[in-house]
Amino acid sequence: MSNSSTPLLEMRDISMHFGATKALDGVDFICNAGEVHAVLGENGAGKSTLMKLIAGVLQPTHGQLRVDGSDVFLNAPQAALRHGLVCMFQELSLVPDLTVRENLLLGAPAAGIGWLRGQGLDKAQDVLGRIGGAQIKMAARVADLTLPQRQQVEIAKAIMKKPRLLILDEATSALSASVVEKVFDLVREERDSGTAILFISHRFHEIEALADRVSVFRNGQRVETFMKGDHDYAAIINMMVGQKIEELFPEKPPPRQDAEAVLEVRNYTWEGQVKDVSLTVRRGQIVGLGGLDGQGQGAFLMGLVGLLRKADGTTAIAGQPTRIGSPKQAKHQDIALAYIPEDRKTEGLILDQSIQENLELAALGRSDLDAGDAALYAGALEQLALKHGGLELPVSSLSGGNQQKVVLAKWLALKPRCLLLADPTRGIDVKTKTQIYAILRQLADQGTAILLLSTDYEELIQLCDETHVFFDGAVVASLSGDDLTPQNIIAATLNVSPEPQAAHA
């Protein structure tokens, strides 16, 4: 795919400094039309900064961007849009109070400040239909959509702008495997019609499926660019972390079915979204919750910490029947549940407050703990190896992976008996993921019961002792031991039998 013509986008000797930190340091980067270029790197490697420079959100401290061989200065997103550089941001760029239709029109190429004629909406609706979002109503408020639906709208919004260069920054992190496949088909089609695609993902199988060329970034510098297939996973991971990681996942201990039950849920039902779910989590066990998005597994977790009203079913903690009516009750020392929510930026953290203040939030209201005591968190912070420039800095100054560590640390300080996690590694780099896996296993070995919701089936297989797969609110398969295979999990998420017969996905 190497053509001698000028590249669509060329970045020369780009540096970006935030105060003393160098997010990018002398980077040269080239992006060709008709090619999917994957950008890999840990959080903090400079990928997001690179994308923001291209999208005109930030301006480089030093260096020059060239589009079609001529110098450009992108001082605002509008300027980037004029050159056909469109970014689908990891932090969703949808306006919550406006409808889907209005969001699609917002910033569309034809829309100025004058009369809106709705040009391009057909195209957007077409795209939505193709990526499994046909049921999303144009008149629905974005705030009422689920996270995957919002990502689908984001994708439609980006495609609608007829990009020459499309940046997908963790664009599919909340989407289920079947939808991701549809999105990839669409992206391939865009590529074949001459669009350049910049693709950021932390999931290797996605890069494997989509990328033509791969660039690896580390510590603000481009380490290497190569065609896909030139290096294997192990080599790529080594480039990313600069050190060898033998195994992403810790070793699984032998199953302990006889350990005492910490959390027993029977016949849990809520509003037609969760149907008759029963499961048991034992001491030292990691139990997985799988399934496509929005099949009730997320609601089930919320229900366990008392976030849902009018739910039916019984819950027993360590054999004692217990009614949990609110998160405050759930974290009480007699129950000691901890819930790590799916959206760390809005539900897990208060971004503008300092790391220390965020850490104290969970312990506040526990009569047996002194939330202001820094010693309470020292152990958890050390275990998690949190990288920070001072606990008094706002949480927003941390990278995504380190933010998630703060959420984990504030709950681990309470020494929970049972840890409930909703997709804790979504949009987090490989190294931090590996750390989190190791910590979860370590916690389990120390006797914590863990319930892990995940959209990454590798986690459900490699990390979990047992996995329950949800479909339409009910558990359709409970897999453990040798049954815990990718084929079985995928089959269960689609609610078909594992044999390849009459699959109606």
Partner: protein, 320 residues
């Protein structure tokens, strides 16, 4: 229709409350639903209604405008000089009054956008400046407005109060088309999520500047209409209108956090507030107790708007 009512729930609630209050008012008024009673009622309502519109444009972009009353006072004083003489002269005079309001709004916007200072601080400061200029123009209430012009604007057209005609023009001639423009959409986007608006390629500076300028325009219109009703210039009218304009937009379902509500809601809120005040006047409640009852009704009305929180089965939705 049902879908429409659900998605515009706030306006529908405000409308129903307004109709109920107005019926009660006309029922208790000794002269009933005559054109005379309606005209006086509508004039009082529209003054606050236009002030609420001004406040709406500031609030919808997650700001607040504490200078609404001051802009009214300043434009009222300007009006007391320029609305006399030839027809052409008065026409230019009206344009000048609204332009004065627009300038005030533009000044607010420029300081807020380029000075990067919070609207509450900026408008608190400019409010004093505007009142100061108004006082220089009219140290004591005085001046005059052409009676024929004032009558034309504040009486009735074929039995329909002119103020209601102006309200209809504001809604159908201005707001509904405006809502369908890129600027109208941009206001909501900016108020709801500035970051998302910016990343979508919206010129957030221009939108904010436009919002505060529009607030100034409507402040000017409020001052102009106030001049038609009172036919004099008075620099001392600002305090009550600023606070009432905020109460009116809240009552009309415009969220102070920005991005939610409409001009129709703001107008309805203002009409409700004035109707309550008029009802009190005729209800025989001691005048000293009136603020207490007005406050209670205000609190109750706002609580109705938040009632759907009780239906949420997922507790996190309560905070959304």
């Amino acid at each position: 229709m049902l879908d429409y009512m659900r998605s515009n729930r706030r306006e529908v609630i405000a409308g129903v409350v307004l109709v109920a209050l107005l019926s009660a008012y006309l029922g208790t008024h000794p002269r009933g639903a005559s054109t005379y009673v309606m005209t006086i009622w509508a004039n009082q309502c529209l003054i606050l209604g236009l002030a609420a519109c001004a406040q709406f444009f500031a609030v919808v972009v997650r700001g607040i405008d504490l200078s609404v009353g001051a802009v009214m006072a300043l434009t009222n004083c300007v009006a007391s000089y320029v609305l006399e003489g030839s027809a052409v002269g008065m026409a230019f005079g009206m344009v000048a009054v609204v332009a004065a309001g627009a300038l005030c709004g533009l000044l607010n916007g420029l300081i807020i956008v380029y000075g990067r200072i919070q609207p509450i601080v900026v408008t608190l400061a400019t409010a004093s400046i505007f009142v100061g200029i108004a006082l220089l123009l009219r140290p004591t209430p005085g001046g005059a407005v052409n009676y024929d012009l004032a009558d034309a604007m504040t009486l009735d057209v074929l039995g329909i109060p002119t103020a209601l005609v102006i309200t209809a023009v504001a809604i159908f001639g201005f707001w509904l088309p405006f809502r369908r423009t890129g600027l109208g959409l941009g206001l909501y986007a900016l108020g709801s999520s500035e970051q998302a608006a910016f990343q979508s390629g919206i010129n957030t500076r221009f939108i904010r500047l436009a919002a505060f300028t529009l607030a100034g325009v409507f402040g000017g219109l409020a001052g102009l209409f106030y001049s038609f009703v009172t036919t004099t210039g008075d620099a001392g009218i600002s305090a009550g209108f600023t606070l009432n304009s905020i109460a009116a937009v809240v009552l009309g379902g415009v969220l102070l956090r920005g991005g939610v509500g409409s001009l129709i809601g703001a107008l309805a809120g203002a009409f409700i507030l004035k109707t309550i005040a008029s009802l009190m006047f005729f209800s025989g409640i001691p005048s000293l107790a009136q603020p207490l009852f007005e406050g209670l009704i205000l609190a109750a009305a706002i609580a109705i708007g938040g009632a759907d929180v009780l239906r949420a089965r997922n507790k996190l939705e309560v905070y959304a």
